[in-house]
Symmetry: C2
Subunit: 352 residues, 2 copies
């Protein structure tokens, strides 16, 4: 199989299409937590009860008039396959650990996914490329209405939707954007932005890496509060804050280009050179260098390379994916060699 | 002018042809110090006496039956031109400072050069690519005989040829090889080799950089003693030691290839990637990365690149040369940008 075919086959369709404002916003996601009345939450449920949840959801999804989702039983997948699913954000890290009566149903383009027996009975998510929070909310809302027409969700007049963890009670909704902020980082404005965002009821965390260190300048921004606010208020708030961040990030990128063009160009081109030639590469380094290259593409410093290589390669070069592509378990040092080879090959694909 | 034409024009012809054992020995040089009887050494000579020396040598060189050398009056050259001459080893750093009645005569291929009124009245050198100490000695000897047939050299029965600095008295000869020793360096064997060489009456110094830190793994090995030994003994000794170094260096390169191939490949390819893409580069970094690339070419890790890029680019990217090519004075940061651009262009010339 050619690398192009492999990428088309392995990656979610939505990853291959650029979304709006994708120079800053990589993806937008909205997910809902729902539970079925009268059955304990998954961490308290007996195998029999978990099976009951699985079967009820499976039955609901058999009606394909509104949504055509394919259900996969996680216990039938290998660890490598589950890890790869996690790496493309189709399932959560917790779900990737697998177990009995755990499943995931997803649409062909993988925009929609429904996890069964994760922390809650149902975790439904819609994930779009670029800045499309409202669109994601619109679709997840339809999905929620559809599921609610088939299943009896635990709901309290006082608290709203009941969830395994109190932080999700209420709307049960988490809306988020994944943003690429190299400009703010290089201009040392990231802490200021993080503080501002926190004050507005949103949480920011690095997508990769521990603590405040966000590898690859990738941050996920999501609503902190699910209780006492309507879904529309949550979406509106995230939208407004994200618009502000886009504006700020673009401003600082232009400032860098104006004031430190040679330094910036040097940094970006060196990262590109390393990705084009290195023989070994850790996933941490890959994310860091790919972030520079993406910035270079967005600023017109690197030409003839599709912006997509960034999100594609960040997923493809994760440990699970690499092993899925190679179809075997690889030692870390082997992975570093395969990762570097895959990156070299992918970057050369787009060179004119 | 194309880059290829520029290189052919700017660099000494001998640099463009590979010599024997050039995977380790970059060049071989023999130089003689000679002075004319009855005229004080240059640092003591009056302008009138310096002029006398200049004129006598000029007259001697007019006989082109044996050697066809072109004489250039250094006072007619710009500082940039003199620096560039120094950077390709045609004249010494001291001579590059210029001054009245200082000159250099050289053959068309620049293998032979004769400096007039440097530290001694005459410094004649023969410089060959690769390991050709004997050949260089043979030619410099002919040149010496030719000059001696025209000029009256200061010579003492007891001490031999008299020179401005006592360290040159005797044969007045300094024979040297420039060797590239990345294998010994990476295997941490360089100190051991340096000590061994010193015990054999030879001096080792880094070609670039201060102290024991040899940038680009380039070392010059030369005879320490000029007194009490015949020319043939000096040449034989240097030859034998160099053969041993070649053998050692090759042994350690193969060991590295056997034991640390992935690390070595990664290091070499990363250096190559940086040279191919960086936007700014200091001459120190350039020499260091070019050394890795040369090793990669010699070990077959980098293909489709001529080994020559190493010695060519090390000369072309020196500050004086860069300014000569651009035909103007450049600030250090401008030089770093031009240097990186020249390297990128040159490396792409040889890619198939």
């Amino acid at each position: 199989m050619s690398l192009r075919d492999l990428i088309n086959k392995e990656l979610s369709k939505w990853m291959l299409a650029p979304g709006p404002e994708s120079d800053v916003v990589i993806s937008s996601r909205v997910r809902l937590a729902r539970n079925i009345t009268g059955i304990p939450f998954p961490n308290r449920a007996t195998p029999e009860q978990a099976k009951q949840v699985y079967n009820q959801v499976q039955k609901a999804l058999e009606d394909r008039t509104a949504f055509n989702l394919k259900l996969v039983d996680l216990s039938r997948l290998s660890e490598i396959e589950r890890t790869a699913m996690m790496e493309k954000h189709l399932i959560s890290p917790m779900h990737a650990e697998g177990g009995q009566y755990k499943g995931v149903a997803f649409s062909e383009d993988e925009v929609i996914s429904v996890m069964i027996n994760e922390e809650d009975h149902i975790r439904a998510q819609v994930l779009y490329p670029g800045f499309q929070v409202e669109e994601a909310y619109r679709v997840v809302n339809q999905l929620d209405n559809f599921l609610e027409s088939k299943l009896d969700f635990a709901f309290s007049e006082k608290y709203g939707y009941l969830t395994a963890c109190p932080t999700n009670v209420g709307t049960g909704m988490r809306a988020s954007v994944m943003v690429h902020l190299p400009g703010l980082n290089l201009a040392n404005r990231i802490q200021q932005m993080l503080q501002g965002v926190s004050k507005l009821g949103l949480t920011v965390r690095g997508v990769f890496g521990e603590g405040t260190e966000a590898q690859g300048n990738l941050y996920q921004i999501s609503n902190q509060v699910t209780l006492g606010r309507t879904e529309e208020e949550i979406i509106d708030n995230l939208n407004r804050v994200t618009e502000k961040i886009i504006e700020n990030e673009r401003y600082w990128r232009q400032q860098l280009l104006k004031e430190r063009k040679d330094d910036l160009t040097d940094r970006i081109m060196r990262s590109y050179g390393l990705l084009m030639y290195a023989h070994k590469m850790s996933s941490e380094e890959a994310v860091r260098l790919l972030s520079d290259v993406r910035l270079g593409i967005d600023l017109g410093i690197i030409k003839n390379v599709e912006p997509n290589v960034f999100s594609e390669l960040i997923v493809l070069t994760r440990p699970g994916y690499l092993q899925k592509i190679e179809n075997k378990t690889l030692k870390p040092e082997e992975r570093d060699i395969r990762r570097a080879a895959l990156i070299r090959k992918r970057l050369r694909l787009t060179q004119s």
